[in-house]
Structures are given as structure tokens and as C-alpha cells.
Subunit: 383 residues, 2 copies
Amino acid sequence: MSGDFPSGSVGLVTPQSVRFSGAFTFANGATLDGYELVYETYGELNATGDNAVLICHALSGSHHAAGYHDGADRRAGWWDLVIGPGKPIDTRRLFVVCSNNLGCCDGSTGPNAARDDGTPWGSRFPQPQVQDWVRSQKQLAEHLGISRWAAVIGGSLGGMQALQWAVDFPEWVEHCVALAAAPGLTAQNIAFNEIARHAIVSDPDWHEGNYLAEGTLPARGVALARMVGHLTYMSADGMSDRFGRELREGSYTPESNQEWVFQVESYLRHQGARFSTQFDANTYVLMTRALDLFDLARSHGDGLAQTLSRATAEFLIVSFSSDWRFPPQRSIEIRDALLAVEKPVTYANIETDDGHDAFLLPNQTYEKLLDQWMRRVGPHESA
Amino acid sequence: MSGDFPSGSVGLVTPQSVRFSGAFTFANGATLDGYELVYETYGELNATGDNAVLICHALSGSHHAAGYHDGADRRAGWWDLVIGPGKPIDTRRLFVVCSNNLGCCDGSTGPNAARDDGTPWGSRFPQPQVQDWVRSQKQLAEHLGISRWAAVIGGSLGGMQALQWAVDFPEWVEHCVALAAAPGLTAQNIAFNEIARHAIVSDPDWHEGNYLAEGTLPARGVALARMVGHLTYMSADGMSDRFGRELREGSYTPESNQEWVFQVESYLRHQGARFSTQFDANTYVLMTRALDLFDLARSHGDGLAQTLSRATAEFLIVSFSSDWRFPPQRSIEIRDALLAVEKPVTYANIETDDGHDAFLLPNQTYEKLLDQWMRRVGPHESA
């Protein structure tokens, strides 16, 4: 840690990686001969191994959840808001692990990795499902000497992973925190993902997913996909407050013949353009498809309550009032299924205009609630 | 009319057109030497000329609002639901006019029309605003011998036109019906339009809007634009009821390795593909931009109530509960502004899962309400 970083930061962090050489078989039957996971850890694993917490990332997230990669780095990890010494996920007493999902593009084995013949996997990379990420993360845990998670925590797709962990390996999960999540996607959710994918595969530079071999990048398609996604992460009211009907320059009158560009347009274009050079197109297709396929209720027999009856964890379920991607009602479905099978669950709906993105953004009620609830996680000092 | 058509239909209709040879100056200062409007009429104009009703179409609509174009035609005009003998907009007593908007692609002068040099306007066509459509429709009315509308009626962008008519030419509008409309677009609305436009202009076949000269069509971009638009016309609940999580074939299990295509995906792809061969890309750009620019409150001085104080019409404002493109709150803004300046207004919110599209779809409450309200429109039989 360095005095150059904000107080409460985990400071300088270094990504690590591990290669698993045995075959990995995906739920759908596809196999990899071996694979690599890149991950970060914050805090120290204690001697009894009962202070480990797993953070699961969302669609475009990575293993870099907290801290900084070098002294000049001014952009902290994606969930620095709640991970650090004295923060809700308190690295003074918890050992925090976050890995890049298998099939992603931030260092773990994914579509850009080379096959045996030296060519990139591209669109031939197996379709991962949330269950596959859980199983690969279990291999990582065993590699780190962890035999049980004090908590598995995530928002959005990460929250879905946390729920899947709790039912796939109940004995491994003592607490489960799912924020802005859902037990499965609706037709509208799937439709937005399909539009994003359609934008990517319609780009002439897509080349059936083999763009690396062709020396191109479907950047226009990825930019559009991101614009669609980003729009759904914000609430209508939040966008009105932030952008309103303001133009980038000047102000509208019917008589004006200026080039009309609203601020919200240049914001979205900028978000799309930036993302298109940073995120891999095949990964975006795989991640959105994994979201579409996630179906907690069908992952063990049939029905949400029956599936959740397998869990032994204590649950925290949090929704955000203006989240229209995974609205409060979807969290209430999870809460009610847990209550139906008499599982311990705390549910809170946070009032906010920040939409789906709210789980990543400052909010006193949310941060305090998470902070207080997390005090039950991990070893407690003996009296 | 023919017995081959459903009862209540206006039957066989023939589009007409008129060319105005004088110069037309758009609000933004651009000019056309002359222009053509294509239109349809249903019913008969009476001798006193006080039974004429104007229907304004929405983004992708046309002049073909009711009836059929030939005996084999099984697809009625876009608002056949409410226009016809005995229907809410009753052609037994009303003379109904609907024109294709200036700048569109269904026969009125627009981007595909030829300039003096024989080349198509393409993206050089002037940007129309709602005010321009009102002024061109007034020329059409005068051509038809109409000096006042018994009612101006429209949904969505068409509802915005109806409102603009009521404040631009108050003495012309006796009744104004605005369905599923808004006094102006929000940042979220504009963002969806920008994504649609970005899809079109990112298509390599766009050629800066000069695709006709290049012998191409930006069909991929238009298809994507339509997918985005269409998605926003439906409600999340309506999509869940209609499509759920059903696959096009088979059913999902984590172990299945089939090609997963959800029904909602193939539906959207089909809608996009069909539209992309029917609708002009430049027109889509111009129409969405006209939507973005519509700002009733700024069209006469400043403020919505002040603007509406000009009107002398009696208003019917209708919203639809699940319309998240122009939600009930936007109609309530119009209602409240009208009430603030003591204008006669009826407001109704229709309970439905049909989203923004609801103004085009069967709903007993909606149809009966419109039917009863419309009885005040036009000449009344003497007792």
C-alpha cells in the first residue's frame, strides 16, 4: 500500500494467474485440454481458512475489482467502492478473491487464446454457462487452499453466479449476496442482448468471429452493442437529470440550422467507441448468451424454490428501485422462493435513480446496509 | 366498397397525390422548389365543410390508414381498427384525411425524390420538423377545400403533430386527440433514437446517405434500427406473456448443445429484416431526428402551459399504462398544462400490457372511450 492512494484503498495490486492442466468439460459437453484463470486477491487468508470471500464480476467486468495496478494509475478496480480496509467488504479481516471468468478477454482463457494449432479460438470457443464459471472458480479456490467461502458476492450476472454457487455447492457457501440480479432473463432482457449480438455479427469486420485471423476488429458492432447495454443500465429519470434535452452546443430553436447533437448522444457515442477498443467481440457474444441461458429454477430439477432448497447459505438480496433491467420484482421472486423453503434471507430495495448501475455507485443507504450485513461474514473475534 | 372486405371497413381505397409548385421553406430555413404529398381520404366532405378530420401518422406510418388497396389485399391500413363506418372515427359522417409526411418514403417528396439534376436527395434532404408537417398539411387542407378540422388526431409522433396543429393554427382545430404522446422526448427517448441512427450510419452500405447513387441499401443498419425501435414499443410484461423464455426449437437444459435461439430473438430478427426492405434509411434518420427536436413547450415562447394557452381546441389525451416509451406521466404533463390554462381536456389512462403499440391494438375500453368521445366531433343532426 502506498500513501499515494486514497485512504480505504487496498493500494497497489498485482494480478496473478494459474493454469489448470487437466481437461475441463463444460456443462454442454464441450471440452478444453486445460485453461488459465487470472485473478486478484486482497487481504490475507487466515490460518483456519474461514475468511475467504469470492467476488463474481458482471458482463464486462474483470478480476480487477479493487486497488490500483501502478503508482500512476488513477482508475481503481471496478468495485473499489465497497472493497478495502474499513469498507463493507473489509480486507482487514477478509481474504477477497476475484477472478476473470473463463471465456472472457482480460487474461483468463477465452476466444482470443490460441488453440493447439496456434490460431485463436474465435467463435469456436465453447459457450460457457454460469455453472461452468462456478466449477472453474472452485478449482481456483482449491488451488488457493480454500475449502469454503465465507461469502460469495456479486451484482447482476455476478449475483447470478453467487446464487448458482449456493445451489451447486451448498456446503461451500456460508453467505450469498446477490445484488441487482434475477433468477433468469425475461424476453425483454434477451431481446436487448440479441440486439447487441446482432449488431456485432452484422458488422462486416466480424468474419464469423474470426476477425483476429482476418486482421480486423468488429469495432462498430461492439460500439453499438455497448451503447444498447449502457442505455439499459441507466434509468430514464437518471438520464433526464444528467442529460435532459441539452445540446452539445448551443440551444434548440425551430429556426436554427445548426447540427443538432444532444449531450446524451455524444455521451453514448463516446461510451461505445471507448468500449469497442477494449472489449473482445466474441467474449461479448458469449457473456450475453450465458446471461440468456442462466435459469436458476431449471438448474436442479424444476422450480425456483425447489432449487434454492438445496442451499445452506444465509442470503442477502438487494434490488434498486429504478433498475429496469432486473427490477425489484425479480429480486422479490428470489426472496419469496427462499422464504417458501424457509431459508434465512434479508431483502432490501434501495431507492435510487441510478438504475441497474446502482450496485456499482455510491449510495449511503446501500453502502451502510452492506457494511452492517457483512459483519456477520467471516470469523468473529472471541469475546 | 366490396362485400369481400370485413364489415366496418372503408373497403377499397385509392391513394391520391397533389403537387404544390410554390417554394416551401422549412422552419430551419431550408427550401424546396415545390413538393408532392400523397394522401388518402375516407368518407365524404359535407357541403358546409365542417366534418373533416385529419389523421397524423407516426414514425413508420403512411397515408394508408384504413381500407385495402386491391381486392386481393388482406392487410388493411395501419389504423383500420378505429377508422370506418360505425367505428370510432366514423366515415359515415366524417371526412377523414391522412397524408404521408413530407420527407417520408411512401410517395410524398422525400430523400428518395430526385433533385433538379436527376440525382436523389439522399441525406441532403432538408430536416423536417413537426411544424413543417403541420404547414404542409394545411396546404393540403386548402387544396381539398377544407378551412377547419373538426378534429386532428394522432398517436405517438402523430399525437405530437396533432398538438402542434392546435397551437400553430388554433382557429383550424376544433378538437385535438393525442394518444401515447409526449410534449417532447426525454434523454432516454433520444438515446434510443440515436442508437437506431448510429446503426444505420455505421452500416458500410450507408455511403453518407447516398446509397441509392451507389446502388446499395444499408439494410443491416435499418434492420437493427427497427429491432431497437420495435423492442421499445412493447412492454416487458407483454413480451413475457407472448414469448417468455421459449426457444424456437427444443427446450433448454444446461447439458444441451443445440443452437439456442429464443423465440423473441427470431421474432425481432424477422421484424428487422422485413422492415429493412420496406423503409428508407434516410427517412428513418429524418423521422427520428424530427422526434428528438419536437419540443412543444419551446415552439411558442417558453413553457408548455403558455404554449397550450394559444389553443382553442377541446382535447382528448390518452396514455397506456405499460407504455414506457411515452409513459402516462408524459400525458399527465400535457393534461396538467392544459388545466393550468383552463382548456377543456379529457384524460384517460388505459390499462394494458401492449406498451406503446397499444394505440394501434384492440382494447375494448380504449375503443369505446374513443368512440364515445368522438361523438362530439363534427356536425350534429338537428333535433
